[in-house]
């Protein structure tokens, strides 16, 4: 009998030269992380489903591979490292010295619809910075993020930054009953809806930020000014290194701090502070993302500020024009 070499949808074997290159890229990331004094944690791929259930959105619930174990426990395959890390660290936090710098690597498995080059099982490397003063922790993790993306060999990169809740006050004031609908329209840069919402939302949709930061409300305005300052400083630091940074609040309109503004079906909504995404400039493909998720850690019993990021290694390896990591 001939045995098929076919694999289920969305999974692949990585063989020979490709495997070598994946290990080289992983090693380059790990080198950066260790140089920055981040320690490795190794996490299981199987976990209970129940602790995460209240945190799931309709979409992330659909993405989870769940099954009943032989002893009747409902288990899930690892779809994200961060919540698992939060739950494991929660009972140990009192005995740990903060700030805590951690990194992880391994497979994540998500049942998602497949497009060209997309996988349901892929290898991720990520970092978490727990504790510490929030603003300086954000700066540190962002610098580390940019350094790792720079090591990926994917040419010029654009990093887009924002913060959760930036538009909450504007959306709350402009929405006529359905704030979530307006938030969704801003997230897709709907000009008509933005215009109806007022000049500041229109500016955000077209230019990423309002002309006057004060139109966002006092707290969001202060945070935008700080983020613009950070971006400008980091931009100067990285001049000539092929990294372009910009602040764009419409990009992260789905990241709200108000339940009434949550867009149904959204994913990545657990960020509650700084949020960032990196795109390969040439192809425009998203390569990595990260941000702050204090509430997520809190909801899993770890009452500690947390900021981090994750890079999908398999996706990076498939990007056009990528040059190999020097062995």
């Amino acid at each position: 009998m001939r045995i098929s070499a076919g694999l289920p949808h969305g999974v692949t074997g990585v063989l020979f030269e490709e495997a070598l290159e994946r290990r080289r890229l992983e090693a380059a990331f790990v080198e950066e992380l260790q140089q920055a004094h981040y320690s490795e944690v190794i996490l299981p791929i199987l976990d209970y489903f129940q602790p995460y259930e209240p945190l799931l959105t309709a979409t992330t619930r659909e993405q989870l591979y769940r099954f009943v174990d032989r002893d009747g426990e409902l288990l899930a395959l690892r779809a994200d490292f961060t919540p698992l890390l939060a739950r494991l660290l929660a009972p140990r936090l009192d005995s740990l010295e903060l700030p805590l710098r951690l990194f992880y690597r391994g497979d994540v498995v998500r049942h998602q619809s497949l497009g060209p080059g997309q996988l349901r099982e892929y290898y991720a490397v990520g970092a978490e910075l727990l504790g510490g003063e929030r603003e300086s922790a954000d700066h540190e993790i962002l610098r580390l993020f940019v350094r790792l993306v720079g090591r990926a060999g994917i040419g010029p990169v654009r990093v887009v930054l924002g913060f959760a809740g930036a538009l909450d006050e504007l959306l709350g004031a402009a929405a006529n009953g359905d704030g979530a609908q307006l938030a969704a329209a801003i997230a897709r840069r709907d000009r008509q809806a933005a215009r109806r919402g007022g000049a500041a939302l229109e500016e955000v949709v077209e230019h990423g930020v309002p002309e006057r930061s004060g139109s966002l409300g006092r707290e969001a305005s202060r945070r935008l000014d700080a983020l613009l300052e950070l971006t400008a400083g980091l931009g100067r630091e990285l001049a000539g290194q092929g990294v372009e940074l910009s602040v764009d609040l419409a990009e992260f309109a789905a990241n709200t701090l108000r339940p009434e503004l949550e867009i149904p079906g959204s994913i990545w909504t657990y960020y509650d502070g700084i949020v960032f995404r990196a795109y390969q400039a040439e192809s425009g493909r998203e390569v990595a993302r990260g941000g702050r998720y204090d509430r997520l850690f809190g909801a899993l019993g770890a009452d500690v500020p947390a900021v981090g990021f994750s890079l999908g290694v398999d996706g990076l390896l498939q990007l056009p024009g990528r040059r190999e990591v020097a062995s």
Partner: protein
């Protein structure tokens, strides 16, 4: 140069009219050439099937494109949708041989080209729907008793009248939309905003 994807289906002429009204020359446009460069307009055009277009834009092969909101509702890609065109608007409707909706508690077969969108729109109805996909001539479903109802695009309503079908309920407005790749928006922000400004100034988009 911006790479713009145009749909080969019912929205092609609408998209071309809108672009020309916005001042683009598109000199020598040839419907048979799937890929064509228009240096005068700083555009490269791709001609794609409606259903494929969102994928090309989402994956950054095309920077932007024009596609019907019906297709977007079905494929649910991660795309920016900044503008809707005025022309080519139509409606997505529930169609049947009788003008009344099903009675509460009934279990109804529904034929459509858009099963995922249909499922979302019919969720919570007091009657059950067994939704299945047909790839064309959906109106024939209720006529030939393959289904009790159909859900499809209605433009003038003439096809329905010709087949003695009734538009039981309008479920959604449908219009051709300008879609943009997320990263391309950052990369070509100035050029894309300028194109959108021109479309708005030409009054060919909903404002």
């Amino acid at each position: 140069v911006i790479r713009l994807a145009l749909p080969k289906g019912r929205n092609l002429s609408t998209a071309l009219d809108a672009l020309r009204a916005a001042g683009l020359g598109l000199a020598g446009f040839d419907e048979r050439r799937l890929r064509q460069v228009h240096p005068g307009d700083e555009l490269e055009l791709l001609l794609l099937k409606d259903w494929d277009l969102p994928l090309y834009v989402e994956h950054g092969i095309a920077d932007c494109g024009v596609v019907g909101s019906d297709v977007l509702e079905e494929v649910r890609g991660d795309l920016l949708v900044p503008l809707r065109l005025r022309q080519g608007r139509c409606r997505f409707s529930l169609i049947g041989r009788a003008p009344e909706p099903p009675v509460d508690g009934a279990q109804i077969r529904v034929a459509t080209k858009y099963p995922r969108w249909a499922e979302r729109l019919l969720r919570g109805r007091p009657w059950g729907a067994e939704i299945f996909r047909l790839s064309g001539s959906v109106e024939l479903g209720p006529i030939l008793d393959l289904a009790e109802l159909a859900m499809d695009i209605v433009q003038t309503g003439r096809t329905l009248r010709d087949h003695r079908l009734h538009e039981i309920e309008i479920l959604a407005e449908v219009s051709p939309c300008l879609v943009v790749n997320r990263a391309a928006y950052h990369r070509h922000r100035v050029a894309l905003n300028a194109l959108m400004d021109r479309l708005e100034a030409a009054e060919v988009v909903c404002t």
